[in-house]
């Protein structure tokens, strides 16, 4: 059955057919026909953000917390260019996003028309794929294909640019159907390679699972299979920033996050292992430290759906291309059918070694005096919210690393953070997207005051839609991570890294019609956090913390996993040598 309708109506119809319930967007001249259709329906809720960057981050938060793609609708020119940071963020972290942009009418393209930009040109390197649709008849097919591309294989952001005359013209609507395009990424791994990994698992003396965001992207089933694999083999497991929650933080095989600000035991185990099983992680430079000295004695297996991730940074011995869930299913089947063997004696010895590293207690800190330590603030936040139906977002910087270290994640899709791109300003709009998807959950954005200010206009959105997002700002009046690097690397010359002229956050909250809470005394902290949690509405929590706290442990740039520096008694002036200084 074919149906005739305008391009604008097709867009809304295609979104409905794709099961979209929420769109984040901002209107403008080149999308007015679409907004007219949005006005005349009730199936899709439109969330009016205050800046297009916020729309994309909100859609990312929605996508990460639900596993469904996020949808954004913005206008041409500045609407599209403002979306670029969010698109790049989603590309780096493999988040499925569909961005629909308006474009000047086809007959004006190339004439430097008002609010014209070469949107597909600008976004080509920051999307997984993009389309400029010049015929209304093709529009619905392209939108359906956009959902297919965004969500298949390694997920990512896509963009569809739609000129205004295409929105007005009438054409034939193509209903949603299974994709027949040539783009059908392989999800099953090669059984010979999986068997090779099983053989390695059976023999390993010092094994470790190194997991990443690929486990989360593969769906909750993949996390379940991973848990079964970890429990039945008894091997230790660590995860990247992006993979937190794929294995529960309360599990006894959990070593904590690894990497530059990862836990001592996790990094030492990575350095000393004899079998590294990378599941859906990509050997990012925050993980490996200096590549030449990365886990020198281990056999490395790598499960990844993207062949370009395999052997890109680290040469691996057992490459397995496929979806994490599918590969783990086959892996467990083969391992069980061969008699569930491991070298348990050697692994027990390995655990004894790991326990020694654990005993170092690399996250210990002392809360004393009248100033709140940021670690203490997060420890209390964890204690008071861990039993909640809780979702955590973060901005980027020290607070982000402390949140990864001190908060525990029991399930996937509960942790939204900008990992690859490191986008300050990500967390607040992301928390709005999460709260839209989970109206009854406790959604907290752990922020630094500088990051938070980058997208603070979204307070308007939070208040308008009565979204009770909690903005937990660790306020040190500094760009803390920049300051830390200047201390370690640039002779304590703190160039432009303090926050002058900060707003009064309580008054700011009130100006938006929200609640503000100030807390600067450790004795008041629990009560203040409870007040935040009990308030039914958005809250800005201004948690004034120690100004010069550094984030440890840390692998200094240019160093290996076994050369971490710890929190106490660090000589900050010699931690990084001149070869390490050029690295970021």
């Amino acid at each position: 059955m074919t149906r005739q309708m305008t391009g604008a109506k097709m867009i809304v119809q295609a979104l409905i057919d794709q099961g979209v319930d929420t769109v984040f967007g901002y209107p403008g001249g080149a999308v007015l026909p679409i907004y007219d259709e949005v006005f005349q329906q009730n199936s899709i809720k439109h969330i009016l953000v205050r800046h297009e960057q916020g729309a994309v981050h909100a859609a990312e938060g929605y996508a990460r917390s639900t596993g469904k793609p996020g949808v954004v609708l913005v206008t041409s020119g500045p609407g599209a260019t403002n979306a670029v940071t969010g698109l790049t963020d989603a590309l780096m972290d493999s988040i499925p996003i569909i961005v629909l942009t308006g474009q000047v009418p086809t007959f004006m393209i190339g004439s430097d028309a008002f609010q014209e930009a070469d949107t597909v040109g600008i976004t080509r390197p920051c999307t997984k794929h993009n389309w400029l649709v010049k015929e209304t008849d093709k529009l619905s097919g392209v939108i359906h294909e956009a959902f297919h591309v965004a969500t298949s294989g390694r997920p990512g952001p896509v963009l569809v640019d739609i000129p205004k005359d295409v929105q007005f013209a009438t054409g034939t609507y193509t209903p949603k159907a299974p994709s027949t395009s040539h783009y059908q990424p392989q999800v099953k791994g090669d059984l010979d390679a999986i068997t090779e990994l099983v053989e390695a698992i059976e023999k390993a003396k010092r094994p470790i699972f190194y997991t990443g965001g690929g486990v989360i992207n593969s769906g909750p089933g993949a996390s379940q299979l991973l848990r079964e694999l970890v429990e039945s083999t008894g091997f230790p497991i660590t995860s990247t920033l992006m993979g937190l929650g794929c294995y529960p933080a309360s599990g006894d095989k959990w070593l904590g996050m690894l990497g530059m600000h990862g836990l001592y035991e996790a990094n030492m185990a990575m350095h000393g292992c004899d079998l590294m099983i990378n599941i859906g992680a990509r050997f990012d430079d925050r993980i490996t430290g200096v590549v030449d000295m990365f886990s020198p004695k281990s056999k490395k297996a790598h499960i990844d759906i993207d062949p370009s991730s395999i052997n890109k940074v680290i040469r691996v011995d057992i490459p397995i291309m496929g979806d994490v869930g599918h590969v783990l299913e086959d892996l467990l089947k083969i391992w069980k059918s061969r008699g569930r063997k491991t070298n348990s004696e050697a692994v027990a010895k390995w655990w004894k070694q790991i326990e020694e590293w654990r005993a170092v207690d690399c996250l210990k800190f002392t809360q004393k005096g009248n100033t709140i330590k940021p670690q203490y603030a997060l420890e209390r936040l964890e204690a008071l919210t861990k039993d909640h139906d809780r979702y955590i977002c973060t901005e980027v910087g020290q607070h982000q690393m402390w949140a990864a270290q001190y908060l525990g994640f029991e399930d996937p899709n509960r942790w939204m953070t900008s990992g690859g791109l490191g986008t300050m300003g990500y967390g607040f709009p992301a928390s709005i997207g999460v709260q839209m998807a989970h109206p009854d959950a406790t959604v907290i954005n752990v922020a630094g005051e500088a990051s938070w200010l980058m997208n603070m206009q979204e307070m308007g959105t939070a208040v308008q839609y009565r979204l009770p997002v909690k903005q937990f700002i660790l306020n040190n009046e500094r760009l803390g991570m920049v300051r830390q690097w200047q201390e370690l690397l640039h002779g304590e010359r703190y160039s432009q890294s303090w926050s002058e002229a900060l707003p009064d956050f309580v008054k700011l909250a009130e100006a938006f019609g929200a609640k503000g809470i100030l807390c600067d005394n450790p004795d008041d902290l629990d009560d203040a956090i409870m007040e935040m949690l009990n308030h039914d509405g958005p809250v800005i929590f201004d948690c004034v913390v120690e100004k010069h706290e550094n984030c440890y442990p840390m692998i200094p740039s240019g160093k290996a996993h076994n050369e971490m520096i710890m929190g106490e008694n660090v000589d900050t002036q010699t931690a990084i040598d001149k070869d390490g200084a050029v690295l970021v």
Binding site: V149, R154, Q186, D192, A193, P307, S308, N311, K312, I320
Partner: protein, 186 residues
């Protein structure tokens, strides 16, 4: 995208070799990339090379299947084996790319390039240019009393050699198409 069943040590049935032997020697590879002929597809491929810092020594592109709207891009690139493997994997994940073939490793192949040379001169130089063109089986496609335009087809090395010989005889302009390549046999 081609099927990617990865066998131990195998690399013949896939553009991706996930078990390569890496060395530091820079190699020259000719890649044949079959792409959907849609607007911007060439920009995607070129943007990948510039964005990730890979080399393009030569690039040719034209639609080869008018009903299926497929274009064939032939790219000559150079890099260490690890870089070459990355290039192929990165090309393979572009949504508009149907297939990537590394003609340099997938058995024997033939490479051809077309070039045109404008040679201006008088007297002996003019005679010598014509004589050498005959040896190289280059055709004269335009002539004035003081210049020739030669057309020559061959492997890039042959064209380089012809250019070297023409230079002292009054070579004024060169146009080259870049390499087109096909694997031998069926």
């Amino acid at each position: 995208m081609s099927a990617l069943k990865i066998k131990k040590g195998a690399n013949s049935h896939s553009a991706y070799n996930l078990r390569p032997n890496f060395s530091d020697v820079v190699e020259r590879h000719t890649l044949a990339v079959l792409v959907e002929n849609e607007p911007g597809v060439l920009a995607r491929v070129i943007g990948l090379f510039s964005g990730r810092g890979y080399n393009i020594d030569s690039l040719t592109v034209a639609e080869v299947d008018h009903t299926g709207h497929l274009s064939r891009i032939t790219i000559v690139t150079s890099g260490t084996p690890q870089v070459i493997e990355q290039i192929k994997a990165q090309l393979g994940r572009i949504v508009s790319v149907h297939d990537v073939h590394d003609l340099t490793v997938e058995g024997a192949s033939v490479e051809r390039e077309l070039a045109m040379f404008k040679v201006a001169g008088k007297g002996d130089h003019r005679v010598e240019a014509l004589r050498l063109a005959d040896i190289f089986r280059a055709n004269v496609v335009d002539s004035t009393l003081e210049s020739f335009v030669f057309e020559i087809t061959g492997a890039p090395e042959k064209i380089d050699a012809f250019a070297d010989l023409m230079r002292p005889l009054g070579l004024t302009e060169v146009a080259r198409t870049g390499v087109a390549a096909l694997s031998r046999g069926d």
